[in-house]
Amino acid sequence: MSTAVLEPEPPTPASDAPTERPPKVRTKPSASGSLFDRTIVRAAIGQSFRKLDPRVLARNPVMLIVEVGALLTTVLFVRDLGSSTAQENVFAGLVAAFLWFTVLFANLAEAMAEGRGKAQAATLRATRADTTANVLQPDGSVVARSSAELDIGDRCVVTAGEVIPGDGDVIEGIATVDESAITGESAPVIRESGGDRSAVTGGTRVLSDRIVVQISARPGETFLDRMISLVEGADRQKTPNEIALSILLSGLTIIFLLAVVTLQPFAIYSGAEQPVIVLVALLVCLIPTTIGGLLSAIGIAGMDRLVQRNVLAMSGRAVEAAGDVTTLLLDKTGTITFGSRQAAEFIPVHGVTEATVAEGALVSSLADETPEGRSIVELAVGRYGQVAADEPDAVLVPFTAQTRMSGMDLASGRSVRKGAADSVRRFVQEQGGEVPIELLPIVEQVSNDGATPLVVIDRRPGEAWQVLGVVRLKDTVKPGMRERFDELRSMGIRTVMITGDNPLTAAAIAAEAGVDDFLAEATPEDKMALIKREQAGGNLVAMTGDGTNDAPALAQADVGVAMNTGTQAAKEAGNMVDLDSNPTKLIEIVAVGKQLLMTRGSLTTFSIANDVAKYFAIIPAMFAGALPQLDRLNVMDLASPRTAILSAVVFNALVIIGLVPLALRGVRFRAEAATAVLRRNLLVYGLGGVAVPFVGIKLIDLVISTLGVQ
């Protein structure tokens, strides 16, 4: 019941919480499509052939070797076409074909991962159309110019219905802006000069009023341009861990190359020389093609998962860093709490009933439109059953900085006030009223709990002012925060709450929310110092921010997520931008970063574990003729040497396609301690990686031997 009363009110623009957060409506067409959107798949199939170009494949040494192998087997197949038996030709032809498929499937995986971003970029490009900018001249006149010719510092006038010509800050006026082109949010947002909501983005549309925008980015370098190249993955750089993994995969490839090349002299010595096609087949099966083929798709899909959550990462490095984060700095207001103080309780002084306090507080707040005032009304009506009667001729006594009180003077002559404890006390004493001695302990108790006390007083006609009691105003922690922080803790991430509150209040809220630590009375300098301290201790720090004074800290943090509602400075300092401006999203970003690495690691393990079964398929098959003793190693009882080798090659190609969904979606992520995650992933992808190919190769062997391959 009580939580129902404490439903959050949308904060007023004057409060320091982020404002616009309407219900999420995703309007981006590509983000809504399923993983295997038909248009994306069709485009990807075309792409996968184009990517056969060795210059493109050179980025991926593992797949380049497969392509060379495919070319070699094709040449040999064609050369020996006339001199071989039909069965030999079928075998050679199928091996060559499936080696090509192996490369194509890997290309397809990458193209599919890119496809979604490409579709998104196309939508964004449509909004980047050249617009006309009305440039304000020093003399006050306005000159129309193409938005492509704008320069930094130009001032443009934008009126209702017009598209903002470039990134910049509002220096004059206030307007509602439709930013759906970028954020996908259909509800308009308010942009005004000064403060932290001055940034506007080129390509968005002004819906009402008139603003003057000072351009801060050159055409071609605007946020929209950056966003297009990011979602498209045009200048995708390999991330640090991806580079390290690529090195390892290249090393493994060289080792297997060595094992296969040296096998021929050993085989010749043993009287069982091998055809080149068979050696190529063995090599391709052994080198880590599964992870090699899916590696870039995993990286692209990881970035894409962030884009789907409406977060733009400026680099893949930042996404990876998010997975490593050990300290999370979260602003209290708006992130951990709702950001508005809500009435939670009425505490009477001696001789007064709770209902009386509730009634007094209610009357004092009838005309109070602040969130606090409305929450008092709700609490009094909802929990204490007071009736909010109409008081027709009542006079509102507004809050002023001098009195620090507000209230009502009723027609009946009754007056009610509520306000800050010390002001009210002084007021009552000045007016000749009496302040009960137990008021001070109550007020102190409420303060110590991290809440704000409001004292309610009442004066009946002809009587002195009488203290009724205290309203406890509390900043409410969002539901579910404690659980999220527990999850983070289990993953080894400390959360630190940043707040401007005094240490007492901060400690109380920190305890209620379950964060690990807090920084009270925080100034931007304190925040910066905290980040540097954490980093000196080896921690990786993530934070969110929106104001200009957050910019240095955002730049210093390892993962700095700027709110899209924030200033241009903040957006440039951070390495990610959250288009939804939802500070809680930091937690999701961490999960995406971890999932990205987990997917890579798991598929690497799977890929290497697969080799065990492939050896047992291919080695006995290679030597079945000359060294029949080795048939004891044919534990899968495969039909014939040729079907055995072919089955391994086919399995090797199909497993890439089979794992594309996993590569694009990422392996299952759960917030758990490292050992538990490792145990599960080793079981699934390590042991599974050993077992699956035994079954798969056997099944493929059954199929192709039934189809008549001998």
Partner: protein, 580 residues
């Protein structure tokens, strides 16, 4: 297995359990585990060390950047190599040669010099008929000490790489100091004591030439045409002590520890096995103390013990089961109190199959290579086990310093894959493992297989290199011998004639690759780690002291080498086994 075998194994286990921890603590103290910087025996050793540093003009307080450390190590090894080469080439003309041994051929001398400098002790020659006393004492024995001393230096440098943080100079200590302290304070006193024990048990120690004696059986005189024989003697015990303690393995006699003058009785056999394993395991204990995290060392030690136990059990089973073809013929091969039993070909009757098999696992699990029976005569699977131990990179527990180094590199590989699997940039012992380290790890894991498979493959195609037995066993011989060279082991499948120019030169190259091709990347990794900050440990950190991670390290070692060598092994020992 007889009760005698069980007793010997139990005694070995107890001996190791009792001596390894204090030895480890002593090594740690020698390398600065005490807060005040003192070490036991300072009163005796410190003046000697200072005098040595003064004589060699070494500023013992000066730290070396990792590459300077590596260059010092290389320079020292090069000078050692040239010195030993010169000694071997000139031995015929040099004094202290009571048995008139001739100088060694250029390729032969190259092979021997490399072999002893790299702690391999591969011997293509018969020690008692090829080496002068001068060479044995001032050449081979000296290298036995200092090549093991280099191993200490490597592990201590790695320790510093792990424990130092944010070190911009990436310094790893002073090579000359590490070498001197390890040799002077650990190897010399232990070898001295051990040599005394060996002498007390009948190991030869003299400076004369051969001893001429009348033949025991005069009837044989007619057959051989003489009634006296010369029994070769020399400074044997002093050589054997460091041969076993320093994971060297180069015997004074060709028959190595199967020779009664090197290994006269059951007690010396037991002590020999102890001395193969003691220092490599003690170094793991010292590692734990020095990095300040004994749990990590306990896990690495457990992995080593686990692998050693499995490989021992494998060899023992293969050898005690004997040859199935003989069983078919009705031959009794059972182990009993009356006979050793099992596959007795090439075994020393005094020791029997079990002791021999355990010795084989210990000598190839370390990089020792001394033998008390002939590995070439093992059953196919029995011979495959020591071969595989070497192909694993000799990490159970491996040579002095380099064994732990190998397991640590495997741990980096394991941590890299595991780290990704838990969703974090991999980290080991607080240091992040990134592209720079993985590049070096990749170089490291490539070197040994490249040398092994590359030279073995060429050997199989060269007519001139065909000095091995026919059939799959011939391939096993070549594989074994290059595995031994590329892993600096020194034991051999000894039928194969390896004294040809091809083998002496290529095995020499393989030994150099297997030594410096691994040490230099490892030192570079240590240098890179020294420059990194420490990542704080949280519940999101992968714990690297759990049984799960131990299984993962062992898995990486087995899977990586298994995948690399499976085709070759399939055509060698596996085919031979299936063909019985």
């Amino acid at each position: 297995m007889s009760w005698r075998d069980l007793l010997e194994i139990a005694a070995l286990v107890v001996l190791l359990a009792v001596t390894v921890p204090p030895l480890g603590r002593y090594i740690a103290a020698v390398y600065g585990s005490r807060a005040d910087g003192t070490a036991p025996g300072d009163r005796v050793f410190l003046p000697v060390e200072r005098a040595l540093y003064r004589a060699m003009r070494i500023d013992h307080r000066r730290e070396q950047r990792w590459n300077a450390y590596a260059m010092s190590l290389l320079a020292f090894s090069l000078v050692s190599l040239l010195g030993l080469y010169a000694l071997l080439r000139l031995q015929g003309a040099l004094p202290f040669n009571p048995t008139d041994r001739e100088s060694v051929s250029p390729t032969g001398a190259f092979n021997i010099a490399v072999s002893f400098v790299t702690n391999t002790n591969w011997q293509w020659y018969s020690g008692e008929v090829a080496m002068s006393h001068l060479t044995q004492m001032f050449g081979l024995a000296v290298q036995n000490f200092v090549s093991a001393g280099v191993g200490f230096a490597v592990v201590i440098a790695i320790v510093r790489g792990i424990t130092r943080t944010h070190d911009r100079s990436r310094s790893l200590g002073n090579f000359w100091v590490d070498l001197t302290r390890g040799t002077l304070r650990i190897l010399l006193p232990m070898s001295f004591l051990f040599a005394l024990v060996l002498v007390s048990q009948g190991v030869v120690q003299n400076l004369g030439g051969g001893t001429s004696v009348d033949l025991v059986d005069p009837a044989a005189a007619e057959v051989v045409g003489t009634d006296t024989q010369t029994i070769p003697g020399g400074p044997v015990a002093s050589q054997i002590a460091i041969k076993d303690l320093g994971t060297n393995g180069g015997g004074f006699y060709n028959a190595n520890s199967a020779h009664p003058f090197e290994n006269p009785n059951g007690l010396t056999n037991l002590l020999a096995m102890w001395s193969l394993l003691a220092l490599p395991f003690a170094l793991v204990v010292a590692f734990g103390i020095l990095i300040g995290d004994r749990r990590q060392a306990r896990l690495l030690g457990s992995v080593m013990v686990g692998m050693l136990v499995v490989m021992s059990a494998w060899t023992v089973m293969a050898e005690t089961n004997g040859n199935p073809r003989l069983t078919e013929l009705g031959v009794d091969q059972s182990v009993s109190s009356l006979q050793g039993g099992g596959n007795m070909e090439g075994k020393e009757v005094r020791f029997g199959t079990t002791s021999c098999a355990v010795y084989a696992a210990a000598t190839t699990g370390t990089s020792n290579g001394s033998v008390n029976c002939m590995h070439d005569s093992f059953t196919p699977l029995g011979g495959m086990a020591p071969m595989l131990s070497m192909m694993f990179g000799e990490v159970s527990p491996g040579g002095i310093g380099v064994g732990l180094m190998g397991l640590l590199v495997n741990a980096l590989l394991a941590v890299f894959i595991a780290g990704l699997m838990i969703g974090r940039t991999p980290e080991y012992l607080g240091k992040k493992i990134q592209a720079a380290e993985m590049k070096l790890v990749t170089l490291y894991i490539l070197a040994m297989p490249a040398a092994l498979l590359g030279f073995a493959a060429v050997s199989m195609t060269l007519d001139s290199a065909n000095t091995f037995q026919p059939g799959p066993h011939g391939l096993s011989e070549v594989l074994y011998n290059y595995a031994s060279a590329a892993n600096n082991n020194g034991s051999a499948f000894a039928y194969q004639g390896t004294g040809t120019d091809w083998y002496t030169v290529t095995q020499g190259i393989a030994m150099l690759i297997g030594r410096f091709g691994l040490i230099i990347p490892a030192l570079a990794i240590a240098g890179s780690l020294a420059g990194k900050p420490v990542v704080p440990t949280t519940s999101g950190t992968l714990p690297t002291h759990t049984p799960l991670f131990g299984a993962l390290i062992a898995g990486v070692v087995v899977v990586a080498s298994g995948l690399t060598f499976f085709p070759a092994l399939a055509l060698g020992p596996v085919l031979e086994h299936l063909s019985i």
